[in-house]
Symmetry: C2
């Protein structure tokens, strides 16, 4: 199966899929999609115009697996090892709760402020970041980090004993914020320790090499022992 | 298993879970949660403070299945028939794509305008709806209805031949907008025909009986042949 992942480097949803594919050892071709350009061929694959999209061809023709929620479950269904959604039905529900927390709550409260102001406005020529909006995002981020620290203090990984799609969702979202040097790691030692474990996994390496032209991450961004 | 669903009548996410439970014939106790009140007992079940939450007790103590994404998959895992997420891995990905479309895109483009202005502001004493915001939501709604009509013209149900969580997501979101008489059904005959099929299912009956004090739905809201 010749898989192509249509992605954007600093899209937290695309990053989740990249990590999961790397964990499973599934080889893919990466295709960068600047979703702001509204490329017609891409809209044919996904009318929502958003990344990520996994595409491939089989006897049924051209296929598209659209969005992180669908793609992560699909990857888990076609490639069982290592399991990223393991455990009882209750544990699986907890993993999906965490993924949803980041994909909807963190996205609306943090990304919509920090990523929007610092990345999306620049990509779309909408001018300088609004400091008030960034401040809003920072306040929300601190609440999320406090919650994460509580979870990590109680559990080795976010959803319990095993590394899962919950950790992948949290790390993917945080890593994009970290690219803009907006994560106060020193104030949240359990989160920093957990993120160090995530960064050390081979599945995370490619993300740490991402660079957007004209936007340089802080020196600690790709340092494993940061 | 004594299941309690913590829900809000016009929360599209709660409604999806109510429909799925009814399709499976699973009996539950409904508990209305006014999430704006921030009840401490409820926050202990779900720190995000959002509905829906399914709760029950087992040998492990009090359990909470949080959010529609986790709850719908959990329901499907513990109760196989009738299948709401049936088919090949590709079909299942298509069902989840549709659910995600409504939970993220429709929610951000339509609910955040129409439901927020017409319901949430009233529930939280924030005054009258802003006509400009409602207009925004209506414009986006028309695009979603056009897309739905295209899908329904090509397929009997949204994700293909079978009724699925994709139909449930779409119908749950649209039904909340319809409560406020904001769906121009006559302009989208395929969508109207499909919604008539959905309304006629016994799993939808309880939703059509919902009434919020001081907010009366249009006469067609609970008419099956509307």
């Amino acid at each position: 199966m010749n898989l192509t992942l249509h992605h954007w480097q600093l899209d937290p949803f695309s990053r989740q899929v990249r990590i999961a594919l790397a964990e499973k050892g599934m080889r893919i071709r990466l295709k960068e999609e600047r979703i702001w350009d509204g490329r017609q061929d891409f809209l044919a694959l996904n009318p929502a115009g958003t990344t990520p999209v996994l595409s491939f061809s089989d006897e049924g023709g051209r296929r598209a697996i659209v969005g992180a929620r669908a793609a992560l479950e699909w990857i888990e269904e076609i490639s069982a090892e290592p399991a990223l959604l393991a455990g009882s039905a209750i544990t699986r529900a907890e993993i999906r709760r965490l993924a949803d927390w980041f994909d909807r709550k963190f996205d609306a409260e943090v990304n919509a402020y920090i990523l929007y102001e610092k990345m999306e406005k620049r990509m779309t020529g909408q001018g300088a970041p609004d400091p008030d909006m960034i401040h809003q995002g920072r306040l929300a981020l601190r609440e999320h980090l406090t919650y994460l620290a509580t979870l990590i203090d109680a559990r080795h990984w976010l959803s319990g004993n095993g590394y899962s799609l919950g950790d992948i969702a949290a790390a993917a979202h945080l890593s994009c914020i970290d690219y803009f040097n907006e994560v106060p790691w020193e104030k949240y030692p359990p989160v920093k320790e957990w993120y160090g474990r995530i960064k050390s996994r081979p599945s995370f390496r490619a993300l740490l090499r991402d660079r957007l032209p004209g936007m340089t991450p802080p020196p600690h961004y790709d340092v494993l022992d940061f």
